[in-house]
C-alpha cells in the first residue's frame, strides 16, 4: 500500500509550552488512523499542522509524497490536498447544502453532477436546497464530510466529528461514517478523546498524551496489550492486582494468569480489566460478592477475594449473582503486567 501522509518528528510550540513534541506518524492509502488522547494533549494541534493552519517548530510533514510543512517551508492550506471536517462542522450558513458541497470544486459543467453524486452517496440528495440550520446534526455532519471529500483530497482530517452529537446519534453515526469512509476508500486521520470513536472506526490508533505519541497499534492491541499504564488507562477501565512473575506466568490472588507479553521475573502488577474476569456459580468459591450495580445487560460487581483485596467484575446480569454469595472467580485470558511500584 502506498503511503499518503507522513509526519516526522513534528513539534509545535506555543510560546513557552510544547503542544506537540516530536510526533511521528504515517498513514497508508485507505487507512483510518485515530489520534486518541485527553483534552489538551496536542492532537488537534497536530491535525491543524497537517491541514496548514499551524506552523511547526521542528519536523516535516509530507502529503502524497510532497513536503508541505517544515520549519522553513510551508505550503498554504488552500494548496494542500488535505480535507478537514471540523468539530462544529463549519458549514457556511449563507449557502445551501449543494453550494456547501460544491464550494471546493472548480466551476464547470462537472460540478453540479459531482455534487449530486456526492449527496446521493451520503443519502442526503433530498436536502440539496436546504440551508445548514434546517438540518439535524447528523445530516450536517454528512454535508461536512461530503464537502471535504468533494475536491478528492489525498487525506481527510476529522476533528472530533462526533463530539457535538448526543450519545445515541453518536453510536449510530460512528457506524454510518465508518461505512461511508471505507466505501470511498478514504485515507483519514480521526482526532478524538472518546475511545469508543477510535475503537469503532480506526484501523490503527495513535495514543497521544502531553504532546507525545505514546503508542501506535491496532485497536485490539492498544486495549489488550497497552505499552504503559498511562495508555492502559486511556484505552479503558483499569484495575491492578499484585502479582509475582515467573517464566511468563503471573501468580495473583486470582490464581495463576498467563502474561500477555514478556515480563521480567519478580514482583509486578497485573492489569485486570473488569470484563476480563470470569465469575460463575459453583466450583471452587474464591470470591464473595459485596456490592452489585445493574447496568442493563451487564452488572458491575465488587468482589472480595480470599486475601481480602477487592476487584470489580463485569458479569452478564442474567447470572443473578447476589451480594453475600461466594462464587468461582478466575481470569482465562493473558493479561499485561507492569513492574511494581513504578509509574511506567
Amino acid at each position: 500500500m502506498a503511503e499518503v501522509l507522513r509526519c516526522e518528528g513534528v513539534s509545535v510550540r506555543f510560546g513557552q509550552t510544547d503542544a506537540v513534541r516530536e510526533a511521528s506518524i504515517a498513514l497508508e492509502a485507505g487507512e483510518i488512523l485515530a489520534l486518541l488522547g485527553p483534552s489538551g494533549c496536542g492532537k488537534t494541534t497536530l491535525l491543524r499542522s497537517i491541514a496548514g493552519f499551524q506552523r511547526v517548530a521542528a519536523g516535516e510533514i509530507t502529503v502524497a509524497g510532497a513536503l508541505v510543512e517544515s520549519r522553513s517551508h510551508s505550503v498554504p492550506a488552500h494548496r494542500r490536498p488535505v480535507g478537514m471536517v471540523f468539530q462544529d462542522f463549519a458549514l457556511f450558513p449563507h449557502l445551501d447544502v449543494a453550494a456547501n458541497v460544491g464550494y471546493g470544486l472548480s466551476r464547470g459543467a462537472g460540478r453540479a453532477r459531482r455534487v449530486e453524486e456526492l449527496l446521493a452517496i451520503a443519502g442526503i440528495g433530498e436536502f440539496a436546497q436546504r440551508h445548514p440550520h434546517q438540518l439535524s446534526a447528523g445530516q450536517q455532519q454528512r454535508v461536512a464530510i461530503m464537502r471535504s471529500l468533494a475536491p478528492e483530497p489525498a487525506v481527510l482530517l476529522l476533528d472530533e466529528p462526533f463530539s457535538n452529537l448526543d450519545p445515541e446519534t453518536r453510536a449510530a453515526l460512528r457506524i454510518q461514517v465508518g461505512r461511508l469512509l471505507r466505501s470511498q476508500r478514504v485515507s483519514a486521520i480521526l482526532v478524538t478523546h472518546d475511545r469508543a470513536d477510535a475503537f469503532a472506526l480506526a484501523d490503527r490508533i495513535a495514543v497521544m498524551d502531553a504532546g507525545r505519541i505514546l503508542q501506535v497499534a491496532a485497536p485490539e492491541a492498544i486495549y489488550a496489550r497497552p505499552a504503559s499504564r498511562r495508555i492502559a488507562a486511556l484505552a479503558g477501565a483499569v484495575q491492578y492486582l499484585p502479582a509475582v512473575a515467573r517464566a511468563g506466568l503471573l501468580e495473583t490472588p486470582l490464581g495463576p494468569i498467563l502474561a500477555a507479553g514478556p515480563i521480567a521475573d519478580g514482583p509486578c502488577e497485573a492489569l485486570v480489566r473488569p470484563e476480563w474476569v470470569t465469575i460463575c456459580r459453583g466450583g471452587e468459591r474464591t470470591g464473595m460478592v459485596v456490592e452489585r450495580y445493574l447496568e442493563g445487560p451487564f452488572s458491575r460487581l465488587v468482589v472480595r477475594l480470599e486475601d481480602g483485596s477487592m476487584i470489580e467484575v463485569l458479569a452478564p446480569s442474567g447470572l443473578s449473582l447476589d451480594p453475600g454469595e461466594a462464587h468461582a472467580v478466575r481470569v482465562d485470558i493473558p493479561v499485561p503486567a507492569f513492574p511494581a511500584g513504578r509509574e511506567a
Binding site: F14, S39, G40, K43, T44, T45, R48, A51, G52, F53, Q54, P76, A77, H78, R79, R80, V82, G83, M84, F86, Q87, D88, F89, A90, F92, P93, H94, Y103, G104, R147, S148, A150, P151, D159, E160, S163, V191, H193
Partner: protein, 531 residues
C-alpha cells in the same frame, strides 16, 4: 475536546490590515492635533481656562450628568422590567414605543420644550385666559435635565431590557422554592447580577450628557460644550477652545475607562444565559397603574414633542408665515447621513473582520483604539477637524468630505459594535474550512466572511444613519458655507425664536430618524448594537 484559541490562528491577509490601520489613524489624528493645538501656547491658556471657566462649568456639567443619570434610572429600570418580565398587555408595542425617543435629536426636544413651556409657548397660551402670566423658568438646569433624560433614557432602557431578558428563570424559581416571596427574590436574586449592566448603561448616559451640545445650548445651560462653542464662535479663540475641548475629552475618557472597568469586572461574573424564556410575572391589579406609567413615559418622551411640533406647524400655516425652502437642505442632510453611513460601515468592516474573525493581540488593540473615540463629544471632534482642516487639509476644509471624515471618527464605534455581533456568532472555523477546500485568502473573504457580515452591515448602516441624521455640532461647524442642512435650519430658527419656521424641518428630521429606528427595531439589532 480541543477548543481553538483565536491566538493560534493563521495571520489574516495584509489586505485587511492596510485599510484598518488607515481608518484608526484617521480617528486618532484629529485628537492628536487637538493635543498639539492646545499645548502650543504653553501653559497660559490652560491657566486662563482653569481660572475663569473650568470651575463653575465643570461643576455644572457634572451636576447635569448626575441628575440625568438619576432620572434615566428611575424611568428605564422599571420600564425595562415591565416590558421584559411581566405579562404586560401589548408588550412588543411598548418595547417599540420606548425605543422611539431615539429618533428625537436632543436639540429638537429642547426646541419642543421651549415651544411648549417657554414664554409665549403653548401652555402659556392655554393658561393666559385664567390669568397665569408666568410659568416656572424652563431655561437652565431643570429644563436641560428633563430634556436629556427624555432623549437618552432609551439607551439605558435597551441595555436593561436585554439584561432582564437573560436572567435564568431557574434561579428565581429556586429562590421561590426556598420560601422567598417575589419582592425579596427580585432584590436578592434577579437584580444583583444586573448591576454591571446598569453601571455600563449609566456610563453611556453620562457620556451622552457630557457630549450633548444642542439641548444645553437651546436651554441656555452652560456646560463644557456650550462654553466651548461660544469661545469658538465669538472670540475665534481657537487655542482657548482647544484647551476646553481637551478638558472635556479627558473627562469623557475617564468615564470610558470606568465603563471598560465595569465591563471587564462583569465578564468575570457573567449573567447566566437563560436556557428558557423567563416566566412572565402576572401584574394583576397593577396592570392599570403600569399602563398609565408607561403611557406617561412614552407620551412625554415621544408623543408630546411631536404634538408640540405639529401644533406650531399648523399655527404657522394658519398665520401664513413664510417657510424656508426645505427640499434642498433635506436632500443635503439625507445625502450626508447616507454617505456617512456608507463610508463609516466600509471603514469599520476591515477592523471588525480582523477583530471578530482573526483575533490576536494586534487586532484587539486596533479595535480597542477605535472604540476610544466613542467617548469624544461631537463638538470636540468637530473642533479637532476644523483645526486639522485649516492647517493641513485646506482643500478638504469646508467640503462635505471633512464632514464625512468627522462622521467616521464619531460613529465608527457604533458600526463596529453592530458588525461584531453577527461576525462573532458564526463558527471560527469557516475561513479555515474554505482554505482547506482550496480557496485563496481573498476569495475566502469575499465568499465566506463578507456574507457573514451582511446582517450586521444593515444594522450598522441604520445605526450610523440614525446617529448622523441627529448629529448637530459637527454638521454645524464643518458643513461647507451655503450648504444648508436641516439641523442647521432648525438651529438657526430656534435661535432666532421663530418657532413655527423650525417645526417643519424638525418633524422632517424626526421622520427620517424614526425610519432608521424602525429598521433597527425590525432587525432586532438595536439591543446589541447601541452604544
Amino acid at each position: 475536546m480541543a477548543r481553538f484559541t483565536l491566538g493560534t490562528r493563521r495571520p489574516p491577509p495584509a489586505l485587511l490590515w492596510a485599510p484598518a490601520l488607515a481608518t484608526v489613524a484617521l480617528t486618532l489624528f484629529p485628537v492628536y492635533y487637538l493635543v498639539v493645538r492646545s499645548t502650543e501656547q504653553g501653559l497660559a491658556p490652560w491657566q486662563d481656562a482653569f481660572g475663569r471657566l473650568a470651575g463653575p462649568v465643570l461643576w455644572d456639567t457634572i451636576r447635569l450628568a448626575a441628575a440625568v443619570a438619576v432620572g434615566t434610572t428611575a424611568i428605564a429600570v422599571p420600564a425595562a422590567w415591565l416590558t421584559a418580565r411581566t405579562a404586560l398587555p401589548a408588550r412588543r408595542l411598548w418595547q417599540v414605543l420606548l425605543a422611539m425617543p431615539l429618533a428625537i435629536p436632543s436639540y429638537v426636544y429642547a426646541f419642543a420644550v421651549v415651544a411648549a413651556l417657554g414664554p409665549k409657548g403653548l401652555v402659556q397660551g392655554w393658561l393666559q385666559p385664567i390669568g397665569v402670566d408666568r410659568l416656572p423658568e424652563i431655561y437652565g438646569f431643570w429644563g436641560a435635565t428633563a430634556t436629556l433624560t427624555a432623549v437618552s433614557f432609551p439607551y439605558l432602557y435597551l441595555v436593561m431590557h436585554a439584561a432582564f431578558a437573560t436572567v435564568d428563570p431557574a434561579q428565581e424559581e429556586a429562590s421561590r422554592t426556598l420560601r422567598r416571596g417575589r419582592w425579596p427574590t427580585f432584590w436578592r436574586i434577579t437584580f444583583p447580577p444586573l448591576r454591571p449592566a446598569l453601571a455600563g448603561g449609566l456610563l453611556l448616559i453620562v457620556l451622552y450628557a457630557l457630549s450633548d451640545f444642542g439641548a444645553v445650548s437651546t436651554l441656555r445651560y452652560d456646560t463644557f460644550t456650550s462654553v466651548i462653542y461660544l469661545q469658538y464662535q465669538s472670540s475665534f479663540d481657537l487655542t482657548g477652545a482647544a484647551v476646553l475641548a481637551m478638558m472635556l475629552g479627558a473627562l469623557a475618557l475617564a468615564v470610558l475607562a470606568g465603563e471598560i472597568a465595569v465591563r471587564s469586572f462583569a465578564r468575570g461574573r457573567a449573567v447566566s444565559t437563560a436556557r428558557r424564556r423567563p416566566v412572565l410575572a402576572p401584574l394583576g391589579g397593577w396592570t392599570v397603574p403600569a399602563l398609565v406609567y408607561l403611557s406617561l413615559v412614552a407620551g412625554l418622551s415621544f408623543l408630546a414633542p411631536i404634538g408640540v411640533l405639529v401644533y406650531w406647524l399648523s399655527n404657522g400655516l394658519r398665520a401664513g408665515i413664510e417657510f424656508p425652502g426645505l427640499a434642498e437642505p433635506l436632500r443635503h442632510s439625507a445625502t450626508l447621513a447616507a454617505g456617512g453611513a456608507l463610508v463609516t460601515v466600509v471603514a469599520a468592516l476591515p477592523i471588525a473582520i480582523l477583530a471578530a474573525r482573526y483575533g490576536g493581540w494586534a487586532a484587539r488593540a486596533l479595535e480597542q483604539t477605535a472604540y476610544l473615540t466613542h467617548a469624544l463629544p461631537g463638538l470636540v471632534v468637530a473642533l479637532a477637524m476644523v483645526f486639522f482642516g485649516i492647517r493641513y487639509a485646506r482643500e478638504l476644509y469646508q467640503t462635505v468630505w471633512i464632514v464625512l471624515a468627522a462622521y467616521i471618527v464619531l460613529f465608527l464605534p457604533n458600526a463596529l459594535s453592530a458588525l461584531r455581533v453577527p461576525l462573532s456568532r458564526q463558527s471560527p472555523n469557516l475561513e479555515d474550512a474554505a482554505a482547506s477546500l482550496g480557496r485563496r485568502p481573498l476569495r475566502v473573504i469575499a465568499g465566506v466572511t463578507l456574507p457573514l457580515a451582511r446582517p450586521g452591515v444593515v444594522a450598522a448602516g441604520a445605526l450610523v444613519f440614525l446617529s448622523t441624521i441627529k448629529e448637530l455640532p459637527a454638521t454645524l461647524l464643518l458643513a461647507p458655507p451655503g450648504y444648508e442642512t436641516v439641523p442647521g435650519i432648525i438651529w438657526g430658527s430656534a435661535n432666532a425664536g421663530t418657532l413655527s419656521a423650525a417645526a417643519l424641518p424638525a418633524l422632517a428630521i424626526v421622520g427620517l430618524a424614526a425610519a432608521a429606528v424602525a429598521v433597527l427595531v425590525w432587525i432586532e439589532g438595536i439591543g446589541s448594537a447601541n452604544g
